[in-house]
Symmetry: C2
Subunit: 392 residues, 2 copies
């Protein structure tokens, strides 16, 4: 049987996901919003039977077995850890949290409850074009995997901000193009190349600090542009440029070059060319229509770039399969979502984001350091305690 | 009357330029090649009456008044300086030289003979799409010029190398994507934005060190990939990715974003979108045919990317106008080529290239320092001389 779902968040993506979850047979039991008003409004619009602004009121419901965390990143870790602790499956939006410390807590919780499903919403992994790209790489289209030379990613789009001031404007709450788009890119590149970033260099900028709607005492601190380079464990060099200064546009290109050829995903289509070939191969064209059944609010849908939405829908399809296994009687299996990003992947992505932020501040290359111990919240105090212990 | 031309170099671009110069009414009097054989072969193919492998034999000819330097960069400075010194006009291929010291010598020579035409072949300035882009920026399409936020350049193409080993394989002779393509990008961005690079960061790589034809004791040292960032004097941030790993392809995109909109040149076409507009403007479509008269060897033409070739042809058209002024009786005027890159521009580009190389070596941001004094060729010796002068 499909689990009942509790949703955290009231943004546009929720309005896209809920109808699609229902179409796939999931039941939405409860929704949480930052304010009671916001929760009530969306609950009404989407006809969700229960709404609240208290986290526990969703988590503790008996009819809720799967948690969708699609709110601001500063709340991801606390909700995810608590949900796993009381035996609920979790799908958490990217990035995992605000910093590695939070992401590590989530990893620990997922390791403690390994039978529960815990995945990060890096939906591009489920976009068919990237599935095909991954397969082509594994099959040697670019040569040996160790012969991947360059990976070049470019995302050009409009502003990520809403009209009103909210967490998207705030760097410290996880807003901005690096956390919201860059996290996808960092995960995707690792997924495709089977390599992880060793050293990174980044430039992160907030060019637009005020808008017609946000121009009072609060300014925008979340970045609207970033460009970064990553030296990968297998020798590949990644360069990515993410740009929020093209209103009304969405264009995403992922190019991977190897000694034997190159592969390029544009939008949802995959092209390739072997070095010794005289012409480009059209490997996969994405002609499948997203809007079947008309279930999706098209206004909301237009606010989320198509490849991301489509990947998300495919991931929800996989999630359905995970809960409707044909032979297994336990109620769920993990295989259908084996492709999904784990909380460990989320921790790695967070480590790269942390390194990029440090690189930007210090204007230098920074080694990526995935933590395995929670950072000491107060190193000075700890040192003092140790000293007093010694002197006693 | 149009001046007689002496050409230095025997590469493919020569085979494209010579027929076009003739079509414009110029007479090619002499050609120089690195070897007598190479010179003879091209002289025969292009029906040039005189060929040599001695530089002076071209420069000193009375029927030669305009020098086209299209050979390896390590020879640019010495030929250009000598040519100006004996009263000949010079068009010099990019980059100006191998280092700032060489470029500075060229600047000095051009300042000493200001009435002579001395230009660097940064031909993209003459491509109509960039002319239109520059005009749109000046007319405020992006807002104030000081409101330019991001400039993003991407060039994707195949290898720059020939089958046989030559200077293109050699970093120290000026080969590679940074000097040959990057120099254009550095010049173009300054030309378009009226801003110069203040600080730069670059990653420069040679992924392909051997080919089927170059695999003996000599390896390829010239870079086939680079990505760089430039902080500009007016606050803009430039990011550029130049990639030689897409055989059989040529794609060039130059995007400039401002607070009021963005402009994008793709190939030879210009698109734009104002921030408050619901649709993209097609500002300029390049439909003009290059191959008129059939004068151009199409095999050779295919070896040079179309925007570069077209810009070069427009520049040669401007050069013709410079030598055929209607009212001025001196024989030439500089106005028609006022758009061209000067040797001072060449020195600036060289300063940025030097800074990018240093950035790549030291893995750090480097301040761009345009020299005004020739660097001391042997600082240790000079210090010893100063010490002995003091002790005497």
């Amino acid at each position: 049987m499909l689990p009942g779902i509790g949703v955290f968040g009231t943004g546009n993506v929720v309005k896209v996901i809920v109808p699609f979850l229902r179409e796939k047979g999931f039941k939405i039991e409860a929704i949480w919003g930052r304010t009671l008003n916001a929760a009530e409004e969306v609950a009404k619009e989407l006809e969700i039977p229960f709404h609240t602004n208290r986290i526990d009121d969703v988590l503790l419901r008996k009819d809720v077995d799967l948690i969708f965390i699609i709110c601001s990143p500063n709340l991801h870790a606390q909700i995810a850890v608590k949900a796993l602790g009381i035996g609920k499956h979790v799908l958490c939006d990217k990035p995992a949290g605000l910093c590695q410390g939070e992401a590590l807590k989530m990893v620990r919780a997922s390791q403690y409850y390994p039978s529960l499903i815990s995945i990060v919403n890096h939906s591009l992994r489920f976009l068919p074009a990237f599935g095909q790209m991954r397969r082509a790489i594994v099959d040697g289209y670019l040569g040996q995997e160790s012969e991947i030379t360059v990976c070049d990613v470019r995302v050009q789009m409009g502003s990520l901000l809403h009209d009103a001031y909210d967490w998207l404007c705030d760097d410290t709450m996880g807003g901005g193009v690096l956390t919201l788009v860059g996290s996808h890119v960092i995960d995707l590149v690792s997924h495709l190349t089977s390599q992880r970033a060793v050293r990174v260099h980044g430039v992160i900028r907030t060019f637009t600090k005020t808008t017609d709607h946000v121009n009072g005492i609060r300014h925008i601190s979340s970045p609207d542009f970033c460009t970064f380079q990553m030296e990968m464990s297998g020798g590949a060099l990644v360069t990515a440029t993410l740009n929020n200064h093209l209103p009304g546009t969405f264009s995403q290109e992922v190019l991977i070059c190897g000694q034997a050829g190159h592969l390029m995903v544009r939008g949802g289509d995959l092209y390739g060319r072997k070095s010794n070939s005289a012409k480009e191969d059209v490997i996969y064209l994405d002609v499948e229509d997203l809007q079947r059944g008309g279930a999706i609010n098209s206004t909301a849908a237009s606010t989320i770039p198509r490849p991301y939405m489509k990947g998300l829908f495919k991931m929800i399809g996989a999630l359905r399969e995970a809960f409707l296994p044909v032979e297994d009687k336990r109620g769920w299996v993990k295989e259908p979502v084996a492709l999904a990003a784990t909380f460990e992947d989320g921790l790695y992505v967070q480590a790269v984001i942390d390194a990029l932020k440090k690189s930007n501040s210090n204007r230098e290359w920074v080694k990526v350091n995935v933590i395995t111990e929670e950072p000491d919240p107060d190193p000075l105090l700890s040192a003092a305690v140790r000293r007093s212990a010694i002197s006693m």
